[in-house]
Protein backbone atom coordinates (compact mmCIF):
# COMPACT_ATOMS: atom_id res chain seq x y z
CA UNK A 1 0.00 0.00 0.00
CA UNK A 2 1.06 3.56 -0.55
CA UNK A 3 -0.13 6.82 0.97
CA UNK A 4 -0.71 9.80 -1.30
CA UNK A 5 -1.10 13.37 -0.09
CA UNK A 6 -3.58 15.73 -1.71
CA UNK A 7 -3.60 19.43 -0.82
CA UNK A 8 -6.78 21.31 -1.72
CA UNK A 9 -6.97 25.10 -1.62
CA UNK A 10 -9.44 27.72 -2.74
CA UNK A 11 -8.50 29.16 -6.13
CA UNK A 12 -6.68 32.50 -6.03
CA UNK A 13 -9.26 35.26 -5.92
CA UNK A 14 -11.96 33.12 -4.30
CA UNK A 15 -12.89 34.57 -0.91
CA UNK A 16 -11.32 32.53 1.88
CA UNK A 17 -13.30 33.61 4.93
CA UNK A 18 -11.57 31.02 7.09
CA UNK A 19 -8.15 32.31 6.04
CA UNK A 20 -9.24 35.85 6.92
CA UNK A 21 -10.38 34.73 10.38
CA UNK A 22 -7.07 32.97 10.95
CA UNK A 23 -5.18 36.09 9.83
CA UNK A 24 -7.17 38.14 12.36
CA UNK A 25 -6.17 35.65 15.04
CA UNK A 26 -2.51 35.91 14.10
CA UNK A 27 -2.72 39.70 14.17
CA UNK A 28 -4.33 39.49 17.62
CA UNK A 29 -1.33 37.47 18.80
CA UNK A 30 0.97 40.20 17.57
CA UNK A 31 2.02 38.73 14.23
CA UNK A 32 1.05 41.92 12.48
CA UNK A 33 3.31 41.31 9.52
CA UNK A 34 1.07 38.51 8.26
CA UNK A 35 -0.59 39.94 5.17
CA UNK A 36 -2.56 36.96 3.95
CA UNK A 37 -3.56 33.49 5.11
CA UNK A 38 -5.17 30.88 2.88
CA UNK A 39 -6.53 27.77 4.54
CA UNK A 40 -6.78 24.49 2.66
CA UNK A 41 -7.28 20.81 3.27
CA UNK A 42 -4.72 18.08 3.50
CA UNK A 43 -6.03 14.62 2.62
CA UNK A 44 -4.03 11.41 2.89
CA UNK A 45 -5.24 8.50 0.83
CA UNK A 46 -3.87 5.01 1.26
CA UNK A 47 -4.21 2.90 -1.85
CA UNK A 48 -2.65 -0.11 -3.53
CA UNK A 49 0.86 0.56 -4.82
CA UNK A 50 -0.31 0.55 -8.44
CA UNK A 51 -2.49 3.66 -7.82
CA UNK A 52 -2.06 6.14 -10.62
CA UNK A 53 -1.93 9.91 -10.41
CA UNK A 54 -4.72 10.00 -13.01
CA UNK A 55 -6.99 8.06 -10.70
CA UNK A 56 -6.29 10.38 -7.78
CA UNK A 57 -6.78 13.37 -10.04
CA UNK A 58 -10.19 11.98 -11.03
CA UNK A 59 -11.08 11.64 -7.33
CA UNK A 60 -10.20 15.30 -6.81
CA UNK A 61 -12.18 16.41 -9.83
CA UNK A 62 -15.27 14.35 -8.98
CA UNK A 63 -15.42 14.61 -5.22
CA UNK A 64 -12.47 15.70 -3.09
CA UNK A 65 -12.40 19.21 -4.55
CA UNK A 66 -15.04 21.40 -6.15
CA UNK A 67 -13.35 22.49 -9.40
CA UNK A 68 -15.47 25.63 -9.53
CA UNK A 69 -13.83 27.09 -6.43
CA UNK A 70 -10.88 24.86 -5.53
CA UNK A 71 -7.62 23.61 -6.99
CA UNK A 72 -5.48 20.71 -5.83
CA UNK A 73 -1.96 19.44 -5.74
CA UNK A 74 -1.12 15.75 -5.61
CA UNK A 75 2.15 15.09 -3.87
CA UNK A 76 3.47 12.32 -6.02
CA UNK A 77 6.69 12.00 -4.06
CA UNK A 78 4.51 10.12 -1.62
CA UNK A 79 4.17 7.42 -4.27
CA UNK A 80 7.15 5.15 -3.60
CA UNK A 81 9.07 3.90 -6.58
CA UNK A 82 7.72 0.60 -7.74
CA UNK A 83 9.27 -2.39 -6.07
CA UNK A 84 10.65 -4.97 -8.49
CA UNK A 85 8.22 -7.87 -8.58
Amino acid sequence: MTTVRVVITLKPGVLDAQGQAVRQGLHALGYEGVSEVRVGKHIEITMPDEASVDEISAMCDRFLANPLIEEWKIETDALPSRRPS
Binding site: V14, L15, A17, A21, K41, F63, N66, L68, I69
Partner: protein, 237 residues
Protein backbone atom coordinates in the same frame (compact mmCIF):
# COMPACT_ATOMS: atom_id res chain seq x y z
CA UNK B 1 -50.15 14.89 -3.82
CA UNK B 2 -47.22 12.97 -2.46
CA UNK B 3 -44.00 14.63 -1.31
CA UNK B 4 -40.81 12.75 -0.60
CA UNK B 5 -38.54 14.38 1.99
CA UNK B 6 -35.01 12.99 1.92
CA UNK B 7 -33.42 12.47 5.32
CA UNK B 8 -29.62 12.45 5.50
CA UNK B 9 -27.65 11.81 8.67
CA UNK B 10 -27.34 15.37 9.94
CA UNK B 11 -30.52 16.75 8.36
CA UNK B 12 -32.25 18.92 10.95
CA UNK B 13 -35.06 20.62 9.06
CA UNK B 14 -36.51 17.38 7.73
CA UNK B 15 -39.24 17.26 10.36
CA UNK B 16 -40.07 20.95 9.91
CA UNK B 17 -40.70 20.22 6.21
CA UNK B 18 -42.67 17.08 6.98
CA UNK B 19 -44.75 18.97 9.56
CA UNK B 20 -45.62 21.81 7.19
CA UNK B 21 -46.43 19.55 4.26
CA UNK B 22 -48.39 17.02 6.29
CA UNK B 23 -50.07 19.05 9.03
CA UNK B 24 -50.30 22.55 7.61
CA UNK B 25 -50.89 21.77 3.94
CA UNK B 26 -52.55 18.33 4.39
CA UNK B 27 -50.36 16.54 1.85
CA UNK B 28 -49.14 12.98 1.77
CA UNK B 29 -45.45 12.82 2.78
CA UNK B 30 -43.01 9.93 2.53
CA UNK B 31 -39.78 10.04 4.48
CA UNK B 32 -36.98 8.91 2.19
CA UNK B 33 -33.83 7.61 3.84
CA UNK B 34 -30.60 8.66 2.11
CA UNK B 35 -29.38 5.06 2.10
CA UNK B 36 -32.37 3.81 0.12
CA UNK B 37 -32.38 4.03 -3.60
CA UNK B 38 -36.06 4.26 -4.50
CA UNK B 39 -38.24 7.35 -4.42
CA UNK B 40 -41.48 5.47 -3.72
CA UNK B 41 -43.63 7.08 -6.40
CA UNK B 42 -43.54 10.66 -5.15
CA UNK B 43 -44.60 13.76 -7.11
CA UNK B 44 -42.01 16.13 -5.67
CA UNK B 45 -38.71 15.59 -3.86
CA UNK B 46 -37.61 17.96 -1.09
CA UNK B 47 -34.02 18.01 0.18
CA UNK B 48 -34.25 19.67 3.59
CA UNK B 49 -31.82 21.82 5.52
CA UNK B 50 -29.32 20.74 8.12
CA UNK B 51 -25.73 19.61 8.12
CA UNK B 52 -25.78 16.38 6.13
CA UNK B 53 -22.75 14.26 7.05
CA UNK B 54 -21.61 17.07 9.31
CA UNK B 55 -20.81 19.19 6.23
CA UNK B 56 -17.54 17.23 6.08
CA UNK B 57 -15.31 17.95 3.08
CA UNK B 58 -17.71 20.66 1.81
CA UNK B 59 -21.36 21.34 2.67
CA UNK B 60 -23.43 18.85 0.69
CA UNK B 61 -20.46 17.06 -0.87
CA UNK B 62 -20.78 13.72 0.91
CA UNK B 63 -24.59 13.77 0.76
CA UNK B 64 -24.32 14.16 -3.02
CA UNK B 65 -22.78 10.67 -3.13
CA UNK B 66 -25.65 9.06 -1.17
CA UNK B 67 -27.36 5.97 -2.61
CA UNK B 68 -30.59 7.94 -3.08
CA UNK B 69 -29.00 10.61 -5.27
CA UNK B 70 -28.99 8.66 -8.58
CA UNK B 71 -32.77 8.31 -8.18
CA UNK B 72 -33.10 12.01 -7.40
CA UNK B 73 -31.08 12.76 -10.55
CA UNK B 74 -33.28 10.63 -12.79
CA UNK B 75 -36.39 12.08 -11.13
CA UNK B 76 -35.04 15.56 -11.94
CA UNK B 77 -34.12 14.52 -15.48
CA UNK B 78 -37.72 13.40 -16.03
CA UNK B 79 -38.80 17.00 -15.42
CA UNK B 80 -40.44 16.45 -12.04
CA UNK B 81 -40.10 19.11 -9.33
CA UNK B 82 -37.18 19.00 -6.89
CA UNK B 83 -36.68 21.58 -4.12
CA UNK B 84 -33.48 21.98 -2.12
CA UNK B 85 -33.67 24.16 0.97
CA UNK B 86 -30.48 25.54 2.56
CA UNK B 87 -28.28 22.44 3.03
CA UNK B 88 -30.54 20.75 0.46
CA UNK B 89 -29.57 23.53 -1.97
CA UNK B 90 -25.90 22.85 -1.20
CA UNK B 91 -26.47 19.14 -1.91
CA UNK B 92 -28.04 19.98 -5.30
CA UNK B 93 -25.04 22.20 -6.15
CA UNK B 94 -22.57 19.48 -5.18
CA UNK B 95 -24.58 16.86 -7.09
CA UNK B 96 -24.29 19.00 -10.21
CA UNK B 97 -28.07 19.41 -10.48
CA UNK B 98 -27.75 23.17 -10.05
CA UNK B 99 -24.98 25.53 -11.21
CA UNK B 100 -22.57 27.29 -8.86
CA UNK B 101 -20.99 26.67 -5.46
CA UNK B 102 -21.26 27.96 -1.91
CA UNK B 103 -18.57 29.75 0.04
CA UNK B 104 -18.51 30.72 3.68
CA UNK B 105 -20.48 33.86 4.47
CA UNK B 106 -18.48 36.97 3.71
CA UNK B 107 -19.12 38.25 7.25
CA UNK B 108 -17.44 35.10 8.65
CA UNK B 109 -20.59 34.77 10.78
CA UNK B 110 -23.44 32.31 10.85
CA UNK B 111 -26.50 34.32 9.81
CA UNK B 112 -29.83 33.51 11.42
CA UNK B 113 -32.49 36.13 10.77
CA UNK B 114 -35.51 37.08 8.69
CA UNK B 115 -34.70 38.25 5.15
CA UNK B 116 -36.69 39.70 2.30
CA UNK B 117 -36.23 38.18 -1.12
CA UNK B 118 -37.77 38.94 -4.47
CA UNK B 119 -39.14 36.41 -6.92
CA UNK B 120 -36.96 36.78 -10.01
CA UNK B 121 -38.36 33.97 -12.15
CA UNK B 122 -41.86 32.56 -12.31
CA UNK B 123 -40.81 29.85 -14.74
CA UNK B 124 -40.50 27.11 -12.13
CA UNK B 125 -43.11 24.81 -10.53
CA UNK B 126 -42.40 26.52 -7.19
CA UNK B 127 -43.01 30.10 -8.36
CA UNK B 128 -45.23 29.80 -11.45
CA UNK B 129 -48.25 31.45 -9.80
CA UNK B 130 -46.28 34.20 -8.04
CA UNK B 131 -45.47 37.62 -9.48
CA UNK B 132 -42.04 38.59 -10.75
CA UNK B 133 -40.72 41.09 -8.21
CA UNK B 134 -43.01 39.78 -5.46
CA UNK B 135 -41.31 40.15 -2.08
CA UNK B 136 -41.31 37.17 0.27
CA UNK B 137 -40.16 37.14 3.87
CA UNK B 138 -38.57 34.09 5.43
CA UNK B 139 -35.60 33.31 7.65
CA UNK B 140 -32.09 32.31 6.65
CA UNK B 141 -29.88 30.24 8.96
CA UNK B 142 -26.54 29.35 7.47
CA UNK B 143 -22.80 29.80 7.65
CA UNK B 144 -22.14 28.91 4.02
CA UNK B 145 -24.68 30.66 1.85
CA UNK B 146 -22.36 32.91 -0.08
CA UNK B 147 -23.34 31.90 -3.61
CA UNK B 148 -20.39 31.87 -5.99
CA UNK B 149 -19.91 31.28 -9.69
CA UNK B 150 -17.27 32.66 -12.07
CA UNK B 151 -18.46 35.74 -13.97
CA UNK B 152 -19.13 33.96 -17.25
CA UNK B 153 -21.24 31.36 -15.47
CA UNK B 154 -23.12 34.11 -13.61
CA UNK B 155 -23.92 35.78 -16.95
CA UNK B 156 -24.95 32.43 -18.37
CA UNK B 157 -27.39 31.60 -15.56
CA UNK B 158 -28.88 35.07 -15.13
CA UNK B 159 -32.28 33.73 -16.25
CA UNK B 160 -31.99 30.84 -13.81
CA UNK B 161 -31.94 33.16 -10.81
CA UNK B 162 -35.22 32.40 -9.02
CA UNK B 163 -34.80 34.46 -5.84
CA UNK B 164 -32.64 37.45 -4.93
CA UNK B 165 -32.16 39.08 -1.52
CA UNK B 166 -34.23 42.25 -1.69
CA UNK B 167 -32.29 44.19 0.90
CA UNK B 168 -29.48 46.71 1.03
CA UNK B 169 -27.52 44.32 3.16
CA UNK B 170 -26.74 41.05 1.47
CA UNK B 171 -26.85 38.53 4.35
CA UNK B 172 -23.93 36.40 3.17
CA UNK B 173 -22.09 38.13 0.34
CA UNK B 174 -23.79 36.13 -2.43
CA UNK B 175 -22.84 37.06 -5.97
CA UNK B 176 -25.52 39.33 -7.44
CA UNK B 177 -27.60 38.92 -4.25
CA UNK B 178 -28.59 35.42 -5.38
CA UNK B 179 -30.77 33.58 -2.85
CA UNK B 180 -32.00 30.79 -5.12
CA UNK B 181 -31.43 29.33 -8.58
CA UNK B 182 -32.95 26.70 -10.83
CA UNK B 183 -31.61 24.33 -13.48
CA UNK B 184 -31.99 25.07 -17.20
CA UNK B 185 -35.32 23.24 -17.38
CA UNK B 186 -36.61 25.10 -14.31
CA UNK B 187 -37.89 22.03 -12.44
CA UNK B 188 -35.01 21.85 -9.94
CA UNK B 189 -34.89 24.81 -7.54
CA UNK B 190 -32.57 25.50 -4.63
CA UNK B 191 -32.75 28.37 -2.14
CA UNK B 192 -30.98 29.32 1.07
CA UNK B 193 -33.95 30.86 2.96
CA UNK B 194 -36.30 28.45 4.75
CA UNK B 195 -39.89 28.37 3.46
CA UNK B 196 -40.78 25.62 5.98
CA UNK B 197 -39.92 28.03 8.81
CA UNK B 198 -42.26 30.65 7.37
CA UNK B 199 -45.43 28.66 6.80
CA UNK B 200 -47.39 29.41 9.97
CA UNK B 201 -48.44 32.84 11.27
CA UNK B 202 -47.06 32.09 14.73
CA UNK B 203 -43.58 31.94 13.18
CA UNK B 204 -43.79 35.47 11.81
CA UNK B 205 -44.49 34.87 8.13
CA UNK B 206 -46.56 32.57 5.98
CA UNK B 207 -44.81 33.48 2.72
CA UNK B 208 -43.02 30.13 2.64
CA UNK B 209 -46.34 28.41 2.10
CA UNK B 210 -46.65 30.12 -1.29
CA UNK B 211 -43.72 28.05 -2.56
CA UNK B 212 -45.19 24.74 -1.38
CA UNK B 213 -48.70 25.71 -2.51
CA UNK B 214 -47.38 26.59 -5.96
CA UNK B 215 -45.94 23.13 -6.49
CA UNK B 216 -49.05 21.46 -5.06
CA UNK B 217 -51.23 23.31 -7.53
CA UNK B 218 -48.71 22.67 -10.29
CA UNK B 219 -48.83 18.93 -9.71
CA UNK B 220 -52.51 18.51 -8.90
CA UNK B 221 -53.85 20.74 -11.65
CA UNK B 222 -51.20 19.55 -14.13
CA UNK B 223 -50.36 23.17 -14.76
CA UNK B 224 -47.63 23.82 -17.26
CA UNK B 225 -44.82 26.18 -16.54
CA UNK B 226 -43.59 28.06 -19.58
CA UNK B 227 -40.07 26.97 -20.51
CA UNK B 228 -37.18 29.17 -19.41
CA UNK B 229 -36.03 31.39 -22.24
CA UNK B 230 -32.66 30.28 -23.52
CA UNK B 231 -29.77 32.27 -22.20
CA UNK B 232 -27.77 34.40 -24.56
CA UNK B 233 -24.71 32.17 -24.29
CA UNK B 234 -26.77 29.09 -25.00
CA UNK B 235 -28.46 30.66 -28.00
CA UNK B 236 -25.05 31.49 -29.44
CA UNK B 237 -23.79 27.93 -29.22
Amino acid sequence: MRFGVVIFPGSNCDHDCIHVLRNVLAQDVVELWHGDSLLDDVDCVVLPGGFAYGDYLRAGAVAATSPIMPSVKSFAASGKPVLGICNGFQVLLEAGLLPGAMLRNQSLQFRCRQVLMSVESTKTPFTWNLREGQILQMPVAHGEGNYFAPKDLLDDIERQVVFRYAEDANPNGSARFIAGVCNKAGNVVGLMPHPERASEAILGSTDGRLIFEAVIEYVTSRSRVPALPRSRAEALR
